[in-house]
C-alpha cells in the first residue's frame, strides 16, 4: 500500500505545484481590476511581440525587437505618450510555430498586453491570427510581407508593415523590363508564401513564359548548389532572389564557386548589406553590383536626419549595438506605433487604436507611402532600388509604388519628411 501512497503523493504535489503557479498568475491579473482595457494604466502601456532570438532565422532578425524597445525607452525618457510609459515584452519563439502559440498566449492571457506589435514570421504568425482575433487583440504591423495580413474582413485587427512580396516582385521585374531587356531572367524563391508571392509579382510584369528557370529552397537544407547549377545550365543572366539573408549570401557564394555570375536582384528582407557582408566574410566583394530594394532610410546614409536620430538612440538606449538595416527597421516600427498611439487619443482603447491605424495618413522614415485604410491593411506600398557599389549600398532611381493586383508600377513623387526636432511624433 505504501506504493500507492507514494504515487498519490506525486500526483498531489504536481497538481499543487500547478495550483501554486496558477496562484501567481491569478494575482497578476486580479490586481488590474481597476482598468477596463488590458495593458493600459494611467502610467503604462504594455505591448508584446514574438521574435526569433535564437534558431536558424535569428541572424539579423534578433536585433529588430531590441531596436524597437530602444526607441520606446527613448520616448519614455522624454515623458512617454500622454504621460504613459511603453513597456515592450519581447518573447523568443525560435521561429517555431508551436512556441509562438505558447508565448503569444502568455503575452495576451497572462501578461495582459494591450496589443501584439511587429510579430515576426509568416508561418509563425499565421498560427496566432485566429487566437488574436477571438481575443480582440490589435495585431499591429506584422513583420513579414505575406498578403495574409491584409484581410480586413476576416482579421479586422491585423495590419502589415513590410511591402507585400508581390508588390516587391512587380517592382523588381519592372526594373528588369526597363534596364535588362533581352536577358534571360530566372527566379529563386523560398518554398512558402514568401517565394510564391514574389514569383507571382514577377510573372505579373514579365509574363510566366519569360521566366527561364524557377527554383526553390527550404531553410533546413543549406545546399543550394543543385538550384544554382540548374540556373547556370539554363543560361540565366538575371536571377531574382526571394531569399532570407542567409540564403542570399549562400546563393551568391555558391554562384561564384560554380563560376556563375548573373545580375542578382534581391528581395528587401534579404538585401541588407551589413548583414550579408558579415555572412560572406572575406567573400563580401562578391556583393558588388547586387541590386536590392528598400523603403526605409539606408543605414549608412549619415546625412539623413532619421539615421542621425536613430544612431543617437542606438548609442543611448541600445548599448551601441551594430547599426544596420534591422536597427532602422525596428526603430521605424516603434516610431509608427507611437504615432498611432497619439492618434488614438488619451482614452486609449483597443478599438481606438485599430480605428487610428485605419484612419491612415502616417508619415515617417519611409520613402514610400503607408497604405492603411478601412479596406487596406497592408503596410508600405512601394520601394526604391539599391545597388552595392564600392562596398557601399546606395539608393538609385525613383521610388516606385504599385498594388498587388494588375495595377501599373509607377513613380512615387512624394518627398520624405524629416523627423520632428526631438525625434518624437506629436499628436495632430
Amino acid at each position: 500500500m505504501r506504493r500507492s501512497i507514494r504515487g498519490g503523493l506525486a500526483i498531489a504535489t504536481s497538481l499543487a505545484l500547478f495550483a501554486a503557479t496558477a496562484g501567481c498568475g491569478g494575482d497578476g491579473s486580479g490586481s488590474g481590476s481597476g482598468d477596463a482595457v488590458p495593458g493600459i494604466t494611467d502610467t503604462e502601456i504594455v505591448v508584446g511581440t514574438h521574435m526569433p532570438l535564437t534558431g536558424p532565422a535569428s541572424a539579423g532578425y534578433s536585433t529588430i525587437a531590441p531596436a524597437t524597445k530602444a526607441y520606446f525607452d527613448y520616448v519614455n525618457a522624454n515623458g512617454g505618450v500622454h504621460g504613459r510609459k511603453i513597456t515592450y515584452k519581447i518573447m523568443d519563439d525560435g521561429y517555431n510555430p508551436a512556441n509562438t502559440q505558447q508565448v503569444v498566449r502568455q503575452l495576451v492571457l497572462q501578461d495582459r498586453v494591450f496589443a501584439i506589435l511587429n510579430g515576426l514570421g509568416t508561418p509563425t504568425h499565421t498560427g496566432v491570427l485566429d487566437f488574436l482575433k477571438s481575443n480582440r487583440v490589435p495585431d499591429l504591423f506584422v513583420a513579414s510581407g505575406s498578403r495574409s495580413w491584409d484581410q480586413p474582413d476576416k482579421y479586422p485587427g491585423t495590419f502589415g508593415f513590410n511591402v507585400d512580396y508581390t508588390v516587391e516582385g512587380k517592382i523588381l521585374a519592372s526594373y528588369v523590363r526597363e534596364n535588362l531587356a533581352g536577358r534571360k531572367v530566372c527566379h529563386f524563391g523560398q518554398d512558402d508564401d514568401f517565394g510564391r508571392d514574389s514569383l507571382a509579382g514577377v510573372e505579373r510584369i514579365l509574363g510566366a513564359a519569360a521566366i527561364g528557370a524557377k527554383q526553390t529552397y527550404v531553410t533546413s537544407n543549406t545546399n543550394v548548389a543543385p538550384q544554382i547549377g540548374a540556373f547556370k545550365a539554363a543560361g540565366c543572366q538575371v536571377v531574382i532572389l526571394a531569399t532570407v539573408p542567409g540564403f542570399t549570401a549562400l546563393s551568391i557564394g555558391t554562384g561564384a564557386r560554380l563560376g556563375f555570375k548573373p545580375q542578382w536582384l534581391v528581395s528587401n528582407v534579404g538585401a541588407d548589406y551589413p548583414t550579408l557582408a558579415k555572412q560572406l566574410g572575406a567573400a563580401a566583394p562578391l556583393l558588388e553590383g547586387v541590386i536590392g530594394v528598400n523603403y526605409l532610410p539606408m543605414n549608412n546614409d549619415t546625412a539623413n536626419p532619421w539615421i542621425q536620430l536613430f544612431t543617437k538612440i542606438n548609442q543611448e538606449h541600445n548599448g551601441a549595438a551594430p547599426f544596420d538595416g534591422n536597427t532602422v527597421y525596428g526603430m521605424s516600427v516603434g516610431y509608427l506605433f507611437v504615432q498611432v498611439l497619439l492618434a488614438a487619443g488619451r482614452d486609449l482603447t483597443r478599438e481606438a487604436v485599430t480605428a487610428a491605424v485605419e484612419k491612415g495618413g502616417y508619415q515617417g522614415p519611409g520613402l514610400a507611402p503607408l497604405r492603411f485604410s478601412a479596406t487596406d491593411h497592408s503596410g508600405y506600398g512601394g520601394e526604391r532600388l539599391t545597388r552595392v557599389s564600392g562596398g557601399v549600398q546606395q539608393y538609385f532611381g525613383p521610388t516606385y509604388e504599385t498594388d498587388e493586383g494588375e495595377g501599373p508600377v509607377r513613380e512615387y513623387t512624394g518627398a520624405p519628411v524629416p523627423p520632428p526636432a526631438n525625434g518624437i511624433p506629436t499628436a495632430n
Binding site: M1, R2, R3, S4, I5, R6, G7, G8, L9, A10, I11, A12, S14, L15, A16, L17, F18, A19, A20, T21, A22, G23, C24, G25, D27, S29, L53, T54, G55, S62, T63, A70, I90, M91, D92, Y95, N96, P97, A98, N99, Q101, Q102, R105, Q106, L109, Q110, T122, P123, T126, G127, F131, D191, D192, D193, V218, S220, N221, N318, G319, A321
Partner: protein, 389 residues
C-alpha cells in the same frame, strides 16, 4: 512560486487506492486482474475530476499550459515505457509526434473540405493519427528489434531527421516548411458563446491523455508489461522463459509510437497549425531529456517530464526578467538560457537524483529506494535482479 498558495492540494492523494505507477506491477502479479483495471479506472476518474475542477479554477493561459502538458505527457509516457521498461532507446519520437500531427491536420482539413462538420470529427482524426503512427512505429520497431545500443540510436536519429525532411520533399501535400493550418470547430454551442477556448482545449487534451494513460497503465501491468521488463533485464533469460524477444520489442515500440502519435495530434490541435519546425530533432532530444529528468521507471516520472518541458522555458524567461542586464547581454541570454538551464538541470539531477524527480520524491517520502529508476538507467549491466516485495 509563492508559498502561500501551496496548500491548495486537490483531493487526490487519498482518492485512489493505487496510482498509475506500474512499478508495483512486478511486485504484485498476484492481484486479481479485474481489480487492477478498477484501481486504474478510479485513479483516472479522480484525475479527470481534478482536471475538470482545475479547468474552471485556472485562468485560460494555465489551462493552455496544462493542455500542453497533457499532450507532451502522451509522448513521454510512451517513451518511459519504451526506455524505462523495455530498454530500447529512441531519438526519433519527435518525428513520430510529427506523423500524428500531420495526420490530424490532413484529416481535419480533408473532412472540412468535404463539408463535414461536427464535434465527432476530432476524435476521428485523432484516431487516424494513432493508427498512422502505429503503422510507422511497426516499421521502425521491426528494424529496432534487430538493433542494439548505438545502432538503435542511429536508426531512430535518422527517423527524427528524415520525417521532417519528407514534409519538404512532398510540399504539395505538406506545404513545405510553412506547414499546414488545422481546421478546428469552435467549442459546442451548448457550452455558451463565451466559453474559453483554452478550457475546451484542455478538455480535449485531458480526455485523450487520460484514456491513453489508462490503456498504457493496464498494459504495463499485464503479461505484456512483465515481458517488457523481462526482455529489458536479460534477453537470454527472457528467451529461455519462452518470451518472443523481438515481438515483445516491436510491441513496446508500437505502443510508444501510438502514444507519441496521439500526443503529436493533440499538439496540432493546440497550436492549430503543424510545421516541420515544431518537430525538429531538438524536440526528440528534449523528450528524452524530459523522461530522464522525470524518472525513467514510472509513469509518474513521465508526468514530471512533461511538466518540466512546459514550465522550464517559462521559468527561465522569468529569471531573465528578474536580472537587470545590459541590452546586449540580455539579448544574448534571451533564447539560450532555457537550453542552459535544461542542461544544468539534467546534470544536477543525474548527480543528485539518478532516479529523476520521481525517484527523489520516492526517497523523500521515505519509502523504498529508487531501485527501478536506477535499474532502468543501468540497464546494460544485464543483472537480472529479482524484484522483491
Amino acid at each position: 512560486m509563492r508559498a502561500g498558495a501551496l496548500p491548495v492540494a486537490p483531493p487526490e492523494s487519498d482518492g485512489g487506492p493505487a496510482r498509475t505507477s506500474e512499478r508495483g506491477g512486478a511486485d504484485r502479479p498476484t492481484g486479481p486482474r479485474g481489480s487492477t483495471l478498477l484501481r486504474h479506472l478510479v485513479v483516472v476518474l479522480v484525475a479527470a475530476a481534478a482536471l475538470l475542477a482545475a479547468s474552471y479554477l485556472l485562468d485560460p493561459f494555465r489551462n493552455f499550459q496544462l493542455a500542453t502538458v497533457a499532450a507532451y505527457l502522451c509522448a513521454t509516457a510512451g517513451l518511459t515505457v519504451l526506455i524505462g521498461l523495455n530498454g530500447q532507446l529512441s531519438l526519433g519520437h519527435g518525428a513520430l509526434m510529427a506523423t500524428g500531427a500531420y495526420t490530424v491536420a490532413l484529416s481535419q482539413n480533408a473532412l472540412a473540405d468535404r463539408g463535414m462538420t461536427g464535434s465527432w470529427l476530432l476524435p476521428l482524426s485523432l484516431g487516424a493519427a494513432v493508427l498512422t503512427t502505429i503503422a510507422v512505429g511497426a516499421v521502425i520497431g521491426v528494424a529496432a528489434a534487430r538493433l542494439r545500443g548505438p545502432y538503435l540510436a542511429g536508426v531512430t536519429l535518422a527517423v527524427a531527421v528524415v520525417v521532417p525532411a519528407l514534409t519538404v520533399t512532398f510540399d504539395g501535400i505538406f506545404n513545405g516548411e510553412q506547414g499546414l493550418s488545422v481546421y478546428l470547430e469552435p467549442p459546442p454551442a451548448a457550452l455558451g458563446p463565451y466559453f474559453p477556448y483554452e478550457r475546451w482545449q484542455l478538455w480535449i487534451a485531458g480526455t485523450a491523455t487520460l484514456l491513453a494513460l489508462l490503456l498504457v497503465a493496464n498494459l504495463v501491468r499485464s503479461r505484456y508489461g512483465r515481458n517488457f521488463r523481462a526482455v529489458r533485464d536479460d534477453e537470454i533469460a527472457a528467451r529461455l522463459a519462452g518470451i518472443h524477444v523481438a515481438r515483445t520489442q516491436v510491441i513496446a515500440f508500437v505502443l510508444s509510437a501510438a502514444t507519441a502519435g496521439l500526443g503529436g495530434g493533440l499538439l496540432a490541435v493546440l497550436a492549430q497549425s503543424v510545421s516541420p519546425g515544431a518537430f525538429s530533432l531538438t524536440l526528440s532530444l528534449f523528450l528524452l531529456m524530459a523522461v530522464v529528468l522525470g524518472g525513467l521507471g514510472s509513469l509518474a516520472g513521465a508526468v514530471w517530464g512533461a511538466a518540466v518541458l512546459v514550465l522550464l522555458p517559462e521559468l527561465s524567461h522569468h529569471l531573465t526578467e528578474q536580472l537587470s542586464l545590459s541590452p546586449a547581454v540580455a539579448q544574448r541570454l534571451a533564447g539560450n538560457l532555457p537550453l542552459a538551464i535544461f542542461g544544468i538541470t539534467l546534470i544536477v539531477v543525474m548527480i543528485a537524483a539518478p532516479g529523476g524527480v520521481q525517484g527523489l520524491l520516492s526517497r523523500l517520502a521515505r519509502t523504498r529506494p529508487v531501485r527501478a529508476g536506477l535499474r532502468s538507467l543501468r540497464r546494460p549491466t544485464r543483472r537480472s535482479r529479482q524484484t522483491r516485495t
